[in-house]
């Protein structure tokens, strides 16, 4: 009917309005983004990263706000902004934007495959001689008042790269002999977070159990003893245990830790708290202690396996080949067998179906008081500490103490297989930020990075973020000090990893291990399944050998390509830096053997047989 108002006109109007609004906003941003070429007009420096953990963005934002308020920055109309991208899609985000040339001015280096090998120079700017100049923001007048005068003098005068805890190693590319990224924080290695309320309850349970005669079965099961030639239990009832029970500290040895787990289970049963578990495990690697300890169990074979002279550690291929072809180790070796036995024992203290739980679910369980302990790295400390301290009901809040994962004392089980933790001496700083080669604001981006990595700013930023600082002289907060790397220990390169073997074998190892740990398959079945897969010609061990050789050949060819390019630049453009890079690449190429080492190893393990070809 004419003149009749239809409701659908409203929806059309809203649709058109939304379109005009979004199109207009798009145009406005596009036009605003294109300006800034001239001095004095607005420039925006975008910083992208994937650190969405609580605290980090807030800490970084504080630093950004401070920088934006600097007089010379304000005068130039420069503004820094950050954008956090979720880790799951960060690689795809960077891949797309790097290729299209629209990547942020500064981005956290990593995740994307496009920058593997020497390709980082294609997308990010080398910092060259900038790293050898002092950081102007470490001017002695800017530094913290309580800093040691000698240190202050050092920070003011030392090359920028030498003001980092790791000498800016995490941003250094060996092949290109240049620094490409600047670390602004340190992640902090894996530690165990303890709910101290539950630690106290566990100790009470143990003391109560010790006073009973006979003690409860769970306590009797904890004492180390020999039964039919097999070692059972974890620790002796000795003075060390008594001293620990009298104190306030969380478990100090592995035996005490396992006893603590048993006590928590007993406490849960006694109090009817069905959902309480000892350790909040999940499928997230850092919260799965069985993987942490397994690496140490697996570190006793390096002398028999590391036959490739060009590499320091044991490669996954060497590990797998050493088993299936070389008989250098087997799943019957006590170190390996006990690693899985230990994993099974520890996994019993995890929540039901922990392989189906993710990182957030594990942390939520701990923060809700339904787990006595959780392991993770420094990047999760802020969230966990905040969550535990800010529960709605004050009675639910609890103190959290952070300690390194404990290792067995002399008289405890597994001492010979777990002699010491891995050293943190080679721990590097983290969150390396690199400057995009396509950025039109290199100078300002560099200036911002220098600001961010000056001692006072880095200290305050990481204090707010509750992360470890990356700069020498910057103090960590009390809560974060337990994450300071421990220098004493075994080299991590001694360990071997089957999970990182190429092809589907890595996924198989991981997937079948979960079945073993939850009791769905036996140890023999687990080993048999791995063997069956490796026996398949197309995807098994022959493919792994082939891929290893191919990878070494590819690296060699990539080096040769780079040498040619640098040769060209040195010859035609008289580029002195190119000559330095040629020397560096040539030196690096001396350790690339184009897969010859792999073939030699094949012939050692398979004399007279032809190397696999596909």
């Amino acid at each position: 009917m004419k003149g009749k108002f239809k409701l659908s006109y409203i929806s059309v109007f809203l649709l058109v309005l939304a379109y005009i609004f979004s199109a207009g906003r798009f145009l406005a941003i596009s036009i605003g983004g294109n300006s800034g070429e001239e001095e004095g007009s607005g420039k925006t420096i975008l910083v992208a990263h994937w650190q969405l953990e609580p605290g980090f963005r807030e800490g970084l934002q504080w630093a950004i706000d401070q920088y934006n308020e600097l007089p010379h920055v304000k005068a130039a109309g420069v503004e820094v902004e950050q954008t956090g991208i979720t880790e799951k899609v960060y690689a795809q985000f960077m891949n797309v934007h790097l290729i299209s040339g629209t990547a942020p001015d500064i981005a956290a280096k990593g995740k994307t495959q496009l920058i593997q090998g020497n390709a980082i120079a294609k997308f990010f700017t080398g910092l060259g001689s900038y790293v050898t100049e002092p950081n102007p923001y470490n001017n002695i007048h800017n530094l913290s008042e309580d800093i040691d005068p000698e240190l202050a003098d050092y920070l003011a005068k030392a090359p920028w790269k030498d003001t980092f805890v790791d000498g800016m190693q995490v941003g250094y590319d060996e092949k290109l002999d240049d620094y490409f990224a600047v670390p602004i924080a340190s992640w902090g290695p894996v530690r165990i977070f303890y709910n101290m309320k539950l630690v106290a309850e566990a100790k009470k349970m143990i003391i109560k159990g010790l006073e009973r005669n006979p003690g409860p079965q769970w306590l009797l099961d904890a004492w180390i003893r020999e039964v039919d030639g097999e070692i059972e239990g974890f620790l002796p009832n000795d003075q060390r245990l008594q001293d620990w029970l009298e104190g306030d500290e969380p478990p100090e040895t592995l035996g005490q830790f396992l006893l603590f787990c048993l006590a928590i289970d007993a406490y849960a049963e006694e109090t009817g708290r069905e959902s309480l578990v000892a350790v909040s495990g999940s499928n997230y690697d850092a919260s799965d202690l069985t993987q942490y300890y397994q690496m140490v169990f697996f570190s006793h074979f390096a002398d028999r396996l590391n036959l490739d002279p060009s590499s320091v550690g044991v490669s996954p291929m060497e590990a797998v080949a050493g088993w299936i072809d070389g008989d250098r180790w087997s799943f019957d070796d006590p170190e390996i067998f006990e690693a899985f036995e230990f994993g099974k024992i520890l996994a019993e203290f995890y929540p039901t179906g922990y392989v189906g739980l993710d990182r957030e679910q594990a942390q939520r369980r701990f923060v809700m008081g339904n787990a006595a302990a959780i392991s993770s790295g420094g990047w999760d400390a802020s969230g966990i500490l905040f969550g535990a301290a800010n529960r709605d009901d004050p009675e639910d809040r609890f103190e959290v103490l952070i300690r390194p994962a404990p290792f067995p004392a002399e008289s405890e089980r597994w001492k010979e297989y777990l002699p010491a933790r891995f050293t943190g001496a080679n721990a590097g700083a983290g969150v390396p930020l690199a400057i995009n080669k396509a950025s039109k604001n290199f100078d300002w981006a560099l200036d911002f990075l220098k600001f961010l990595t000056s001692q006072p700013v880095n200290e305050e930023m990481n204090s707010r973020a509750e992360w470890l600082p990356s700069v020498v002289g910057a103090e960590a907060t009390e809560e974060m000090k337990p994450f300071t790397p421990i220098v004493e220990g075994r080299p991590a390169s001694w360990s071997m990893s089957l999970k990182r073997a190429s092809g589907g074998f890595g996924a198989l190892v991981s997937g079948q291990r979960k079945l073993y740990l939850d009791g769905s398959i036996t140890y023999e079945e687990y080993v048999e399944r791995l063997k069956d897969f490796l026996a398949i010609p197309q995807v098994g061990m022959p493919r792994i050998w082939y891929r290893e050789h191919q990878s070494a050949s590819d690296t060699m060819r990539a080096n040769d390509r780079n040498l040619s390019v640098e040769d060209f630049e040195a010859y035609f453009f008289d580029d002195k830096r190119a000559e330095e890079r040629i020397a560096s690449i040539l030196y690096q190429s001396l350790t690339n053997d184009e897969g010859v080492g792999t073939k030699l190893l094949w012939h050692i393990y398979n004399p007279g047989e032809e190397f696999p070809q596909f």
Partner: protein, 495 residues
């Protein structure tokens, strides 16, 4: 007058004028379509063409891009992990076919609402969930499946269904063990497995499609039997151990299909798929069972059709086939699926995503009540096109409301159902996000959730072998294309 030169010139001028006018119109139409076409070519077709090209390369960005011809495809065909990943897809495909029904029934219910405003209200209610990103939806379901705090277990415990599951955890394995003698004594030796029983039912139904019991049928029988003997012959001769053997078999199969298309235009298409299904079912056993099953199917057809005509015989043959399929399905349900206790229900906290035996049920149950917004709207649009006269005529004929669904509504929305089946087929084969989010990149415990899409993702983004992932994608594309052809051929749209 026609020969008059001036008339010829005039005609030519008229034709030219007409052509110019049409060209102007067509030109403007083509120009209007050009931007969309260009965008489609650049952003949609070009990447796909690039996938085809890169599947011929060993492509490992950023340093390796080496032409290797069909190397990736040969590797894909010999990759057991890739083909094993189709097992779960097969299960999902059957489940998703059943999951189409809630959407259809909801659309019919909406369509029958007498009140327009109420119908509109419910339609809006169905559309609103579309604004929730699928990632959020997946994460919500992940929390539902949490053993201790998740909604699924809490609901099951509250309603007592957990006890039912616990009881089934004892009863079903007991039934399976009672069926063991039947399996070991009859099913496995005779049919090579319960898959053979289901295949027999499908063969019987397919034979029943034949209208005429004419002499030409003998040639058709021989054609089908010849096709079924090719694989067993090649396997027995050891030719399948060589690439040349496979090539020979492929050429023979193509020739066989060409002959079939000439003999039975339009009706031959199902046989290659049935024979392929038979090969997969009997691969690890005695492949001669396939021709034997075909002979049984022929025998059933001959016996029934010797006594009855097409109109009474075909339904009987169909019922026989359906009965065999039902028996096979029941044997699968009671004898092959839940054969040992899972031992997860007693404490009321089954780990749906953390236990190898519960992962697949969890994936199947995901998305309950399986009423997809897009599906409902598509069905509803089809239902709204049905004329009221048809409903009136049906009512006059005494068709019940339930009968309306199967005799009127369902046949008349078959176009929409077919579209949804195509989408469902494609999604089932290529989907990986749900498995990635719920189970992780390795497919969860025992790699149970490893589907082709996830395997492709693993190959590309974990292994860095993008070229191989492209080849896997191409193989998936061919499979989807074949299934779409079946869908087009056999999901009849009968107006």
């Amino acid at each position: 007058m026609d020969n008059d030169p001036s008339a010829k010139v005039l005609n030519k001028a008229r034709r030219k004028e007409k052509f110019l006018q049409k060209s102007k119109l067509f030109l403007s139409l083509y120009l209007l379509v050009l931007p969309t076409t260009l965008s489609l070519l650049i952003f949609s077709y070009y990447p796909k063409i690039d996938v085809v090209i890169m599947s011929l390369f060993r492509w490992e960005p950023p340093t390796v891009e080496e032409f290797i011809g069909l190397g990736n495809f040969i590797r894909a065909f010999k990759d057991p992990q890739f083909w094993q990943s189709f097992q779960l897809v097969g299960i999902l495909f059957v489940a998703n076919l059943l999951k189409l029904w809630p959407g259809i029934l909801v659309a019919i219910a909406l369509h029958r609402l007498a009140n327009d405003k109420l119908r509109y209200f419910f339609q809006v209610c169905f559309v609103v969930p579309m604004i929730i990103p699928s990632m959020v939806f997946l994460l919500i379901w992940k929390s539902f499946y949490e053993p201790e705090f998740g909604l699924v277990n809490r609901f099951l415990n509250m309603t007592g269904l957990m006890d039912v599951l616990d009881w089934l955890d004892g009863a079903m394995p007991a039934i399976a063990s009672r069926l063991d003698p039947l399996f070991n004594g009859v099913i496995n030796p005779v049919f090579g497995g319960v898959g053979g029983v289901v295949l027999l039912g499908a063969i019987i139904i397919t034979f029943g499609f034949r209208k005429e019991r004419d002499p030409a049928r003998v040639g058709d029988y021989l054609w089908v039997l010849a096709g079924s003997c090719a694989f067993p012959l090649f396997k027995a001769a050891g030719l399948l151990n060589y690439a040349q053997g496979w090539l020979g078999l492929l050429i023979l199969s193509v020739v066989w299909m060409v002959i079939g298309s000439r003999r039975m235009p339009g009706k031959w298409v199902i046989w290659p798929f049935l024979i392929l299904g038979g090969v997969l079912v009997f691969w690890s056993g005695l492949m001669w069972r396939l021709p034997a099953l075909l002979l049984v199917g022929i025998a059933v057809f001959e016996i029934v059709r010797s006594r009855r005509d097409f109109f009474t015989g075909r339904p009987l043959i169909t019922y026989i086939g359906l009965a065999v399929i039902t028996v096979g399905s029941l044997l699968i349900l009671f004898g092959s699926i839940w054969t040992s206790p899972i031992n997860q229900f007693a404490d009321g906290k089954p780990a749906w995503l953390g236990n190898e035996d519960l992962v697949i049920p969890a994936i199947l149950f995901w998305g309950f009540p399986w009423v997809g917004t897009v599906g409902v709207l598509i069905y509803l649009s089809g239902l709204q096109n049905i004329s009221e006269d048809i409903y009136e005529a049906a009512r006059l004929d005494g068709v019940s409301p339930l009968g309306m669904i199967f005799r009127i509504e369902l046949p008349l929305i078959m176009t929409q159902v077919r579209i949804n089946i195509i989408f469902m087929t494609i999604n089932t084969l290529v989907a990986y996000e749900i498995f990635f989010i719920l189970l992780g990149v390795d497919g969860g415990p025992g790699n149970k959730g490893l589907v082709p899409g996830l395997y492709m993702f693993q190959s590309a983004f974990v292994e860095g072998q993008f070229g191989y992932a492209c080849a896997l994608g191409m193989v998936l594309f061919v499979i989807i294309l074949l299934l779409t052809i079946i869908n087009q051929k056999f999901v009849k749209v009968d107006k």
